[in-house]
């Protein structure tokens, strides 16, 4: 009786959702962040609903199975614009973005009221290595460091420390592709000693990021610069959202998202910028580190290169832009802080250009070279640059490392998949 009452009461709580992102699944994330009654959480342990948003490539099935099984009982799974695995029973698939929040909240509520059964586990209930009854004391271990006590081997030091001469155990693990602190879809094999990254090797590149259709249109015909620049600002603002969230500035991250949602040539960035400066984001947050060298910056291109002092911007070759008085903005340091300052400056510049372009009805003139928000698009779309992280990460503290990853737009660009068929 009492339990029933407790469950009824609990069913009124916010739906805690752990998002697992598939290709171009970020739209769902951005929508849910602004929806009341839904709480996006960073760990599956804190969630009651697992949201699979977007098509998951086959090479990420295994990690998805693992995350799926890491939600504590009871939990529900929702598939958004993604084909549920056939062997699962009782699956819910949603395709309309507008119906998603409702469905999540309903799933959470039904789960707690007992009207919906908890999703069943996929993986067999086996430890990573058999251990019970093995070894010296039946704990699976042998001697002091040998064996697999409780199913896993012990950490042994494998590489010398990168900072001081003290070499202790290094911990190797694979992170991602569904870790909220990394770009969607990215996975890396990491070795830490203490909280310092010793080695980083990117295993799965992040999903290509969808470019606004207007950039593709610009390859075919002149398009209004206002439209192009708003799409650019939109792209950058959404990246700002995830970075600010990672930095613990939830409020500011949501304002970035709101700004992106209601973007028009009249939008102003001043409020958000003031807020960031006053909160000490540029002074206090972990933004030192991750400085790009000129060669690396050139390879990556785009805002990250301009933050490192290169003034390459294809827009300056376009007469339409030139008439609007366009000149690339650059920073010099090339580190994480410079990249955020660059991003803010570029958003501001884009909004300014959009205002001017709207007044002058300006259109692009060159079609063979487009500056996308990710970087230059000459013969081919900007390609994946995540292997750059392998050089950049070692030597960074964990927080600095993740802030650096967030500040670098390494994902390739691709055409938007558009609305999936209902």
């Amino acid at each position: 009786m009492a339990v029933n009452w407790l469950r009824k009461f609990a069913s009124r709580s916010a739906a805690t959702v752990f998002p697992v992102l598939g290709r171009q699944g970020e739209a769902a994330l951005h929508r849910l962040a602004l929806t009341p009654g839904i709480e996006l959480v960073d760990s599956p342990r804190h969630a009651s609903v697992l949201l699979v948003a977007g098509e998951i490539p086959a090479d990420r099935f295994e990690p998805l199975r693992r995350v799926h099984d890491q939600l504590p009982h009871p939990f529900a799974v929702l598939w958004f614009r993604s084909e549920p695995w056939p062997h699962l029973e009782d699956v819910t698939r949603i395709d309309a973005l507008d119906a998603l929040p409702e469905a999540l909240i309903a799933a959470h509520r039904e789960l707690l009221l007992g009207r919906r059964d908890s999703a069943s586990r996929i993986l067999p209930d086996e430890p990573p290595n058999p251990w019970e009854g093995l070894g010296d004391f039946g704990q699976g271990g042998e001697g002091m460091m040998g064996g697999v006590p409780y199913g896993r081997p012990m950490a042994m030091n494998m590489m010398d420390d990168v900072r001081d001469g003290l070499t202790l155990d290094s911990l190797s693990f694979r992170l991602g592709p569904f870790y909220p602190g990394l770009p969607p879809g990215m996975a890396a094999e990491i070795t830490l000693q203490g909280d310092l990254v010793q080695m980083w090797s990117t295993q799965l590149a992040p999903y290509p990021r969808a470019l606004d259709p207007v950039f593709f249109a610009a390859r075919e015909r002149p398009v209004p610069i206002a439209e192009l620049e708003l799409a650019r600002a939109h792209h950058h603002l959404r990246r700002l959202f995830s970075a600010l969230r990672l930095a613990g500035l939830e409020g500011a991250s949501l304002s970035a998202l709101r700004l992106a949602r209601e973007l028009s040539p009249g939008s102003r960035l001043d409020g958000l910028r003031r807020r960031l400066v006053r909160s000490g984001f540029f002074r206090l947050s972990s933004l030192a580190g991750g400085a790009l060298e000129a060669e690396q910056a050139r390879q990556l291109g785009g805002p990250a290169a301009r933050a490192a002092g290169l003034d390459d911007d294809l827009r300056s070759q376009d007469d339409g832009y030139r008439r609007l008085g366009f000149a690339p903005v650059t920073q010099s340091a090339g580190d994480t802080r410079a990249r955020w300052q660059q991003l803010l400056a570029e958003i501001e510049q884009s909004l300014q250009l959009a205002r001017r372009a709207e007044r002058d009805k300006a259109c692009t003139e060159r079609m063979d070279s487009i500056e996308t928000p990710r970087g230059p698009w000459l013969e081919q779309l900007p390609q994946d640059g995540s292997s750059l992280l392998d050089e950049l990460m070692p030597g960074l503290e964990w927080g600095d490392a993740l802030a650096t990853v967030a500040s670098l737009d390494v994902a390739a660009a691709e055409r938007s998949l558009g609305e999936a068929p209902a």
Binding site: D42, P72, G151, E250, D400
Partner: protein
């Protein structure tokens, strides 16, 4: 006599602990709303429904945790918060534990909290919790000294290490004015100790929840309650040490204490929403190189003022 000295203070502590933790949750939601979080639902009910949800969720386990330490850590943290409230006087006579050295006892609570939070991160035997626990130790060990220096500052004019005497010594002028550096420094320590807002290094988002990333269900509920309760205890001590405790016109003493505690809580929660998270390395340097010398200054100031008076 039993009622006066035991039952009543005991009730006060327990009620403040539970109601205070609830108020912290509500205030935090209100602040979040003011800072742009999507509004919706009942702010007053939300902490309770969330608590109910955590009670129905199953507790998580890891492969080979240190079971006892893992389950004890949240409970111990809660107990430490309770001790913090126990040494805080509600009025000249209404205080649970009026130890001669209650100021030092609070210092011990801060030091022991480091142990407990480290245990919470350590005992799960998972990478992210471990990093969170170690980060907190860096932070926790750095601010202990700052807190001790500013609290010694308030002990100087009181000529005592007893919180009731500390309040009594503020009869003429509250310490917040007499020792202007003390309260700001102490508030920073408070944020650190509950790893709220900018000093949220132990349970941060880049660690997917840090020390709490592997806990779910009831243990997580206790951990959340304990963090909120520690913030309440902290605001109580700040009130006592710097804001004149029960002193104030018109209202009865305990009411004044509550009003001041609410004010301190609001400031803390506001700061928590306003500031970004600091990098651990930067944070340690900041504490030792900037804030600690400032707390020396606060102590010299307090000494000079105490002698001059």
């Amino acid at each position: 006599m039993i009622v006066d000295q035991l039952i009543l203070p005991l009730l006060m502590v327990l009620v403040t602990l539970s109601v205070g933790a609830y108020i912290v949750a509500v205030l935090d939601r209100l602040m979040a709303g003011a800072f742009g979080a999507p509004r919706g639902g009942n702010v007053w009910l939300a902490p309770l429904t969330r608590g109910a949800w955590l009670l129905t969720q199953h507790a998580n386990a890891t492969e080979a945790p240190d079971w006892r330490a893992w389950r004890l850590a949240p409970a111990l943290y809660l107990a430490l918060a309770a001790i913090g409230l126990a040494v805080m006087p509600w009025s000249a006579s209404l205080v649970a534990t009026d130890l001669v050295t209650s100021v030092v006892l609070w210092g011990s609570v801060e030091a022991l909290a480091t142990v407990v939070i480290f245990l919470h991160g350590w005992s799960a035997n998972a990478l992210l919790t471990l990093i969170g626990g170690y980060r907190y130790v860096a932070l926790g060990l750095s601010y202990i000294l700052i807190s001790m220096f500013v609290l010694i500052g308030v002990a100087l004019p009181a000529e005592s290490l007893q919180f009731t005497q500390v309040v009594a010594s503020q009869e003429g002028l509250w310490n917040v004015l007499r020792q202007p550096l003390g309260l700001p420094l102490f508030l920073i320590v408070g944020l650190g100790m509950t790893f709220w807002g900018p000093l949220d290094l132990a349970d941060s988002t880049d660690l997917a929840g840090g020390t709490a990333s592997e806990v779910s269900g009831p243990p997580r509920l206790v951990w959340d309650i304990a963090r909120a309760a520690m913030l309440v205890a902290f605001s109580g001590v700040a009130t006592t040490a710097f804001l004149g405790g029960w002193l104030g016109p018109w209202l009865p003493g305990p009411l004044w204490v509550i009003v001041k505690m609410l004010a301190v809580l609001s400031v803390l929660l506001l700061l928590g929403r306003w500031l970004p998270r600091l990098a651990p390395e930067r944070c340690v340097t900041l504490m030792w190189v900037v804030l600690l010398p400032l707390s020396f200054l606060a102590l010299v100031w307090a000494g000079a003022v105490a002698l001059w008076e």
